[in-house]
């Protein structure tokens, strides 16, 4: 029932008139291929929850890959495709969490920790130097 739009890629070198294998998912341009790769690696498989959609061989993952493939061919934007899936499965399906009020600590946290750690260190070292200096002088 799944229709493939099959295009044989003509390769620059043939090997003894051997037949060339066909890609499972073929796209009109490299950009679409890239979009497919990015989307499927950044979405979580809901059955094998430790794999992304690109890697998982669960039947649902295979189905969802084809859905994404069809939608890219139909010209849907990345945002539309992601929204379609989130509307059905929730934020859980996103391996890259959204940036909103509940997750801004998650995204900004690391940088904040690094900067405050370095800042604290700086003040601490400076501060102690000053104190021992004063003690020497006094």
């Amino acid at each position: 029932m799944k229709k493939f739009i099959v295009m044989l890629f003509l390769c620059c070198t043939f090997l003894n008139a051997a037949h060339a294998a066909e890609d499972m998912f073929t796209f009109q341009n490299a950009q679409d291929q890239q979009r497919f790769d990015t989307l499927t690696t950044e979405l979580r498989c809901l059955v094998c929850q430790n794999q992304n959609l690109a890697e998982s061989n669960a039947p649902l993952a295979i189905d969802l890959r084809f859905q994404i493939y069809k939608k890219i061919l139909q010209g849907e934007t990345n945002k539309n495709i992601v929204d379609y899936l989130v509307a059905r499965y929730g934020s859980f399906i996103l391996y890259s969490p959204p940036f909103n009020l509940t997750t801004f600590i998650l995204w900004l946290g690391p940088l904040l920790v690094l900067l405050s750690g370095l800042g604290f260190l700086l003040f601490y070292l400076r501060g102690n130097k000053q104190r021992t200096l004063h003690v020497d002088v006094a």
Partner: protein
């Protein structure tokens, strides 16, 4: 004693608190974003009335339990006897609606003949596309719909006596008494 020397302890206690709370959660159960939304529209062939089409309009006017199942699903077979029990009980006040998920309809019919049919209506979703619209990711799953066809609860995993008594039965009562 300087306060900053107690910071590691405080931080540690926060982490322990989080982990302790985490022990009571179920990290692999995905909540449904369709709760309090109308059931996704569909039109699928009916298994029980060959040639007919069943749609989401079937849900209106009564409380419905939509049960996603398949013959290849081991847990569904385990849930089956309980479904028969609640379906054949007198004073059943809901419709048990089956969604046959990515299955062979002939195999499914045979299976039901062999083991008994608890469903009042069954939709055949061979490709699984409709199930995707419902956010199905495993089976069995059961959706509880109110009289207006709005999804009010999703049960992931088989319905057991405990789940029925503690969650589903009271919910169905409540929905039945709603306008």
């Amino acid at each position: 004693m300087k306060i900053r020397f107690l910071l590691p302890l405080l931080l540690f206690m926060v982490v322990i608190g989080i982990l302790g709370r985490g022990l009571r959660l179920h990290p692999n159960v995905i909540p449904s974003p369709l709760i309090n939304h109308p059931a996704p529209a569909f039109a699928l062939p009916s298994m029980l009335h060959t040639g007919e089409t069943t749609t989401d309009k079937n849900f209106l006017g009564h409380v419905t339990l939509v049960n996603v199942w398949a013959t290849w699903c081991y847990a569904c077979a385990q849930e089956h006897p309980f479904l028969l029990e609640i379906s054949t009980a007198p004073q059943r006040d809901f419709m048990l609606y089956g969604l046959n998920y990515k299955d062979d309809p002939a195999k499914a019919r045979d299976w039901l003949k062999q083991h008994g049919n608890p469903y009042q209506q069954i939709a055949i979703d061979e490709t699984g596309d409709t199930a995707i619209n419902w956010g199905v990711y495993g089976s069995p799953e059961t959706f509880v719909l109110d009289k207006k066809g709005i999804i009010r609860y999703k049960q992931t995993g088989p319905i057991t006596q405990e789940v029925w008594a503690q969650t589903l039965k009271p919910l169905i009562e409540k929905l039945r008494n709603e306008a």
